[in-house]
Symmetry: C2
Subunit: 305 residues, 2 copies
């Protein structure tokens, strides 16, 4: 199985309104609710691709209960979340029916007590030996030490399990220094980490900081990868119009399954870009359009960069 | 006890953000969560004023469970909500930290099945004989017949229980025809009911449609009341700055307790205006500032209009 870690899981709400007008009252015409947090989204794509995925991290309160019920209803996912006394956060995405644009509100998440963090570390150590790869995804809830990901990267490396880190800010900075196999920053996260807005230079700097491979997601411009085997750029055939929610998480799922399927780096990148583009194209946030994925896979361009 | 009916109860969330910027992502710095829906808010004020209040309506799902736990923690409130299979809706109020303005998102509410509506009618009939007054508050969830309030008004009148109706649109239009003792529309609701934007004329029209007394809430301009005993305008000493959430519900609580305490109409109106202004002044949405209330009570101006 592939292990995904989501320390700040979320119950993701999507609200459709006719038109967002600040400082007025809106009737929400449609409400969608589902388990979220980056690692949960990655696991959902892994399961859809036929891989067994185990989800760990924290869940608590009524929102955590709803999240766990949602995971239980998803074939291929195993729930290994650690219960906490605080309530799992919500995120609210307000979709403007006129423009299609999304306005996002993210709750900070519950405070994690030291004993709860300890219980998570025990669970993680139990799960690692059974994992073929691990993905560490998203922000840290309050109370979790800022060096959390560095610890988790080191534990994975010690267990001989390939580890991908997808986070930002100080947790990313500390995590990179622990030498993860892959990091997958977006352009902003990469610039924040390295101080450089020039992707080519920034990916080099990120590797020097400790990442074995750096896969930078550049939105509609695809992926730029700097790996021990070379440097590539993978670009979708055309810019996709749609909802970019979860596109980065789909790319992570593509990179992980490509690794486990023994694909070359260029083929892994093609898979990641195709999944990502097929996620943008899908009408449901975070889902991918399978027919589009298979068609896109053949038309992604991967070139040495 | 005083019975309050909230057919579309809500779990009210308040999010504080630094500054609301449409089509961007926001970190929510503070989250508050509490039981809501107009009748629930009225009951909370009644309980704070030392009256026993019984809350009925519908609750379901994880959100309904959280709502009921919140009610159980409020002294003076009795939970007589009817369980339903759908989940209680949420409302999200996003408070802009710079301007203090609020942007509101209201979920539509769960679909109520005919058998659930029937179970509510049974519960209402059981509760009426023990009620000294009843307040029917807020919107109807999907599935509840649009003439619901007309039925509930008639049942209260048949049981000899004074009934106040606070709703809008077609449910108000139908409910008024059933001859409630009091309606408390705001300026927009009154204009929608009567077709007149001139409050004096519109209150007369609303009485002709069946309301025994019409108390129109005109925001910072106070209340305009047309009753069998006369016509009054009740005005706070100064416009209050703050959060108007729940100000109308506080006014309803003032009118009900004034009735039960045997106050004259001018004294009831003074109480309603003082409670309403003290709610706007309170930093917590929907709570009233008790010291401000007692001071305001002496300085509300009530004049024959």
């Amino acid at each position: 199985m592939i292990l995904t870690v989501t320390l700040n899981t979320a119950l993701d709400l999507t609200y459709r309104v006719r038109s967002l007008r600040p400082h007025t009252s809106h009737r929400v015409s449609e409400v969608a609710e589902r388990p979220g947090g980056k690692g949960v989204n990655v696991a959902r794509v892994l399961a859809a691709l036929g891989h067994e995925a185990t989800v760990t991290g924290f869940a608590g309160g009524a929102t955590g209960q709803v999240l766990r019920e949602g995971l239980a209803g998803t074939p291929g996912l195993t729930d290994a979340l650690v219960p906490v006394s605080g309530a799992t956060r919500r995120t609210v995405a307000v979709v403007d029916g006129l423009s299609g644009d999304t306005t996002q509100f993210n709750e900070p998440g519950p405070h994690i007590a030291p004993a709860e963090w300890g219980a998570f570390l025990d669970r993680y150590e139990e799960l690692l030996p059974g994992a073929r790869a691990v993905a560490l995804c998203g922000s840290l809830p309050p109370g979790v030490p800022v060096g959390a990901y560095a610890n988790l990267v080191r534990a994975a490396r010690a267990a001989g399990v390939p580890v991908l880190l997808d986070t930002s800010g100080e947790p990313l900075r500390r995590g990179v220094a622990a030498r993860p196999d892959v990091i997958k920053p977006n352009a902003d996260e990469l610039a924040e980490l390295t101080g450089s807005h020039e992707p080519s230079r920034a990916t080099q700097d990120a590797r020097r900081r400790g990442a074995r491979a750096v896969v930078a997601s550049l939105g509609a411009r695809g992926l730029l990868a700097l790996t021990p085997e070379g440097r590539w750029r993978a670009v979708p055939p055309a810019a996709e119009h749609g909802n970019p929610t979860g596109a980065g998480d789909a790319a992570v799922a593509g990179l992980l399954t490509g690794l486990l399927d023994g694909l070359s780096w260029p083929d892994r990148l093609a898979r990641a870009v195709a999944l990502s583009a097929a996620t943008v194209r899908s009408p449901a946030a975070g889902d991918f359009d399978r027919a589009a994925y298979e068609k896109l896979l053949a038309s992604v361009t991967v070139t040495a960069a």
